[in-house]
């Protein structure tokens, strides 16, 4: 069952007196929906995603997943990174089981692992070493590892950017399909407009200096989506226009109109300062298990 995500008035600075890298972010994502975040490099997309994962805490504001304030990472909302980060000393099967072992969910582990491998089409690669697999296969293993813990939210930080075009396209369709089947909420950070349109139910365009939501576009196309579909091409043009506007600079007027163009299911009516009241006091950053 997918989870709802509330972004409540997030403002973030990397140092006490530093500039805001994210400012007054307010957004809601309904359970099972897929939201793509696009924007220029340095607009804070990945930073925001790390906050959704609990790998980083905002200076002000908070994230709530299913009403629970995110203060640390949790297997129910886990992240897929640009690099799959598979452990080379484990085989594929053991890598898929890793999340279950870290979370102590070891009951029916082998059955679950085989099920996930079958889901991502790697049943015959269970005994292989990750370094013997292609980039696409490695990302499939990472996907199986994420899915094995039965997450309600999967956060995707450009996980297909290092792959060739064909593999990338296949994985985009597969991940979206699996997430829809299992009703998992997806949040995707990408630089690729086609990827955003292929996977997102809505696309949020972010501006930079400071990072802010500039506009939200609903993508009402049937899945699986094809870039050669004329409707897809029209949406791409519209998104490109919005993206260009976001690059031209931060416009308070656009920020203000966000609520009105926002996803109807999000129902954002409250301003950032009111949403801030929904946040409990949190630490500014969570420590790494080993201080590196």
């Amino acid at each position: 069952m997918g989870a709802s995500i509330q972004i409540n008035g997030i403002t973030h600075r990397f140092s006490e007196k530093g500039p805001n890298v994210l400012e007054n972010l307010v957004f809601d994502i309904a359970p099972g929906r897929s939201t793509a975040l696009i924007g220029e490099s340095g607009c804070g997309k990945s930073t925001l995603l790390h906050m959704l994962a609990g790998l980083m805490l905002p200076t002000e504001g908070c994230v709530r997943i299913n009403g629970r304030q995110v203060t640390k990472p949790h297997p129910e909302w886990n992240m897929m990174f640009q690099r799959p980060g598979l452990y080379p000393w484990l085989n594929v099967r053991q890598n898929v089981a890793l999340g279950l072992q870290f979370t102590g969910k070891t009951a029916a582990l082998s059955h679950r692992v085989e099920e996930m491998l079958a889901l991502v089409g790697l049943s015959d690669k269970g005994s292989s070493r990750p370094q013997d697999l292609s980039g696409g296969q490695q990302q499939r293993v990472a996907l199986a590892r994420s899915l094995a813990v039965e997450p309600e939210v999967i956060l995707l930080d450009e996980p297909f950017s290092a792959l060739d075009a064909f593999t990338r396209r296949n994985l985009q369709i597969e991940v979206r399909h699996i997430a829809r089947e299992k009703n998992i909420t997806l949040v995707l950070v990408t630089h690729d407009i086609d990827e955003a349109l292929t996977m997102g139910d809505s696309v949020v365009v972010m501006g930079r200096n400071p990072g802010s939501f500039q506009s939200v576009m609903e993508i009402e196309l049937a899945y699986p989506r094809s870039p050669i579909d004329p409707a897809f091409a029209l949406l791409r043009d519209e998104l490109m226009t919005r993206f260009k506007h976001s690059v031209e600079g931060y416009t308070p007027a656009r920020q203000a109109c966000l609520a009105s163009v926002s996803d109807p299911t999000n129902n954002i009516k409250t301003p950032a300062h009111e949403r801030l009241q929904e946040c409990k006091e949190t630490r500014r950053s969570a420590p790494l298990p080993i201080n590196r």
Partner: protein
């Protein structure tokens, strides 16, 4: 014209034709090592010949292979070798065990904490540079038994290679692996068990191999200390009774055992080391 081209092509084919895998294996694993061994034997034989043919050194003729090899065989078949080797293996085993138990946890902490690395950098480098045998007087004072003192010397010899290789290995772990572990809410203990220890295991074994080499070298002089057993004691005794054939046989046996122990570690590294599977 066409003949010229075809003969050239044949010449290229012959010159670039790869060796068959079997032939490569035969030379790489059997013929070349045997060749090296033969060269060593010839050098040994020639050295023995020079010693035996010089009236000034004639009394050391027992060093030659013709005398030493039968003596080595006599040691093996009479069973005296086991009585000599086992105490040495016990001491080296205990020294390495203690060194591993101390070096691995400290190495992990030093590798994981930049502050600890700064604090320990100078003292550890300073202590590392002290010859293990320089601790001999302190070992004799500090330990009630000779065995304890020898084990301590081996410990001092083996400690640093294991500690430094562990610390460097922890520093080199890909931060992405920690990110993945955190992402699943892994506890520090789970991180240690499922991430840090397996990630550094090949380097710990490589450090252990280095430590074994140093410890094996230190063992012989360390066993000159008081004890009445072990390879070091046997060599010292052979020198005292002028039994140079026995001395040469023991040197040969020390080399062979050292080589075998190293080979065991190499097999372990190959078996446990994930870096080889890439």
């Amino acid at each position: 014209m066409s003949n010229g081209i075809s003969s050239g092509a044949v010449a290229i084919r012959i010159s670039t034709m790869p060796w068959s895998p079997l032939r490569q294996q035969l030379f790489g694993k059997v013929a070349y090592p045997l060749m090296g061994l033969a060269i060593l034997l010839v050098c040994w034989w020639f050295g023995g010949y020079l010693i035996a043919s010089n009236p000034a050194t004639q009394s050391f003729a027992g060093f030659a292979p013709a005398q030493a090899l039968p003596e080595a065989w006599r040691l093996i078949v009479s069973g005296t070798l086991m009585g000599t080797v086992l105490p040495s293996l016990y001491r080296i085993g205990m020294g390495l065990l203690w060194a591993s138990l101390v070096a691995v946890p400290i190495g992990i902490l030093v590798g994981a904490s930049p502050v600890l690395r700064q604090i320990t950098g100078f003292p550890f480098q300073l202590l590392r540079m002290v010859s293990p045998l320089a601790w001999m007087p302190i070992a004799v004072l500090a330990f009630a038994t000779w065995d304890g003192a020898i084990i301590f010397l081996i410990f001092m010899a083996a400690l640093w290679p294991i500690l430094f290789s562990t610390a460097f290995a922890v520093q080199r772990i890909d931060p992405m692996y920690f990110k993945v572990a955190r992402n699943f809410g892994a506890s520090p203990l789970a991180c240690l068990r499922r991430l840090v220890l397996p990630a550094v295991a090949p380097d710990i074994l490589a450090g252990f191999r280095l430590a074994l080499g140093i410890a094996w070298v230190v063992l012989v002089p360390a066993e000159y200390l008081g004890v009445t057993s072990g390879l070091g004691y046997a060599i010292n005794d052979a020198r005292d009774i002028l039994a140079y054939d026995l001395l040469a046989a023991l040197v040969l046996i020390i080399g062979i055992i050292g080589y075998l122990l190293d080979s065991i570690i190499v097999v372990l590294i190959r078996y446990l080391g994930w870096q080889n599977s890439a």
